[in-house]
């Protein structure tokens, strides 16, 4: 049975989750890949980050976007390989992030006691896009380009697997 959660996530929301649980996530997620992570950490160090990541969920994703009707539409948006972001993990989690969505897994250590790693199926971008209802905002599109920009997405019942839980249990490498 799936657990339903809504962002922002609190500590109690994530500490009870166990690797293997299915979560249906609703609310806001922020896409971020390599360049966006660097930028977020630079701006946060200068206290100039234009959004609040306390309780937030970061999605390792570079979507296919269609422009039209005065806004943006997400066409396909599956997860990208999370391991590339291992080097930024500690910094990002220290900003209060409570969930990371990606594929392939990450170093489990930094998740202990505070955050979970949600997996969605890599390559299933057309299916993931069905859970994305709206593009609320996009940051740094001109500088970083479509795949690397931060897309602020509204999701509804996004079906995710808890792949690394806050106890350090992981579905990877068993």
């Amino acid at each position: 049975m799936a657990v339903r959660l809504r962002t922002p996530l609190g500590e109690e929301d994530v500490l009870n989750l166990r690797a293997g649980d299915v979560v249906h996530l609703s609310g806001t997620v922020y896409t971020a890949r390599d360049s966006a992570h660097r930028r977020i950490l630079e701006l946060a160090a200068r206290r100039e980050l234009p959004f609040d990541l306390d309780g937030a969920v970061i999605y390792h994703c570079g979507p296919v976007i269609r422009k039209g009707g005065g806004g943006y539409e997400v066409v396909s948006a599956g997860p990208t390989t999370s391991a590339r972001m291992n080097r930024y993990l500690e910094g990002i989690l220290s900003l209060g992030v409570r969930g990371i969505i990606g594929k392939g897994g990450m170093n489990p250590g930094p998740f202990k006691g505070r955050t979970v790693y949600f997996a969605f199926t890599g390559g299933a971008g057309s299916l993931a896009a069905k859970s994305i209802k709206n593009v609320r905002e996009v940051l740094w599109l001109d500088e970083l380009g479509t795949p690397e920009a931060v897309w602020v997405l509204e999701v509804e019942d996004f079906p995710l697997l808890v792949a690394i839980d806050a106890n350090g249990s992981s579905l990877y490498g068993r």
Partner: protein
């Protein structure tokens, strides 16, 4: 018109997963017992349907567009073909749409239309005759990052090939979106081995090398890769690879190069033929 046909081939490749790949994915789904493996394969099969029915890219990583052209030297359509490929890439990026994936290596600036220095990638092969055949392979970055080259000593031989491939696949785990398809090129030097490995991905899943000895190694390696237990998305299971494809070239006596190209489950491809009378066929 030629550009329209190339745009169509690109659209076909990114929105429709070939039947042989889908049927291998269905078989994998039936074979898996764990809930987690089935969650992933079920999502994959759903995504394939949504892509096909809505004519939208199945995976958001529409890759680096790579074209393999076998150009008949007497074809009247050779002139301008490279320009048509570049133009079709720009149009497909807008119209399909594709994700713009071409980034300047020095300043990280995205060109916005999937073109740039040496991209789209075009491999040319000149052949006799007056027909042009080309394949488009949109290759994703996550799986490409697991590709590798090994310069083995001849003494390590085919056992060395197996060891290298198994080690690399184990090390990559869930990163390249398993179940993967492995393209392996052996011989020919460092550059050719990798090029052969990528070309091997154009073969249908289940289609063995025409040389029975190589076919046997493909089947053995497939079984060994699947016994690693990495499973769909690296979360455990019986299917780590859908297939293994090996292409070979003669080698230098001192060298035993092995190129490995790792392809995610979305083994996308489409083909196009330009006949001497200007007729064009597009298929998958």
């Amino acid at each position: 018109m030629l550009v329209d046909a190339i745009v169509e081939a690109i659209r076909l490749a990114v929105t429709r997963i070939p039947d042989d790949v889908v049927s291998a994915l269905r078989k994998a789904y039936e074979r898996e017992e764990s809930g987690v493996a089935r969650f992933n394969l079920e999502n994959i099969l759903k995504a394939v349907e949504i892509g096909r029915d809505g004519s939208i890219p199945v995976c958001q990583d529409t890759g680096t567009l790579t074209f393999f052209v076998r150009a008949g030297v007497e074809s009247p359509y050779l002139r301008g073909l490279e320009g048509a490929i570049v133009e079709a890439t720009r149009r497909a990026t807008r119209e399909v749409p594709l994700r713009p994936n071409a980034v300047d290596v020095l300043n990280g600036k995205n060109s916005g239309d999937n073109t740039g220095l040496f991209v789209p990638v075009v491999h040319w092969e000149l052949v006799e005759g007056s027909e042009i055949e080309m394949a488009v392979l949109p290759k994703g970055g996550g799986s490409e990052n697991c590709s590798a080259l090994a310069m083995l000593t001849p003494g390590e031989g085919w056992e060395g090939v197996k060891r290298f491939v198994l080690e690399r696949v184990r090390e990559c785990g869930g990163k390249p979106c398993p179940p993967v398809i492995l393209g392996i090129g052996v011989g020919g030097g460092a550059d050719l081995s990798l090029s052969l490995a990528k070309r091997a991905l154009l073969r249908r899943v289940g289609e063995r090398n025409s040389d029975g000895r190589i076919a046997e190694i493909e089947a053995e390696l497939l079984e060994e890769v699947n016994s690693l237990g990495i499973g769909p998305m690296g979360m455990g299971g019986k299917t780590t690879a859908l297939d293994v494809k090996i292409e070979v070239a003669h080698r230098h006596p001192a060298s035993f190069p092995v190129g490995l190209i790792v392809q995610c489950w979305a083994n996308r491809r489409a083909f196009l033929r330009i006949k001497p009378d200007g007729g064009i066929e597009v298929w998958q």
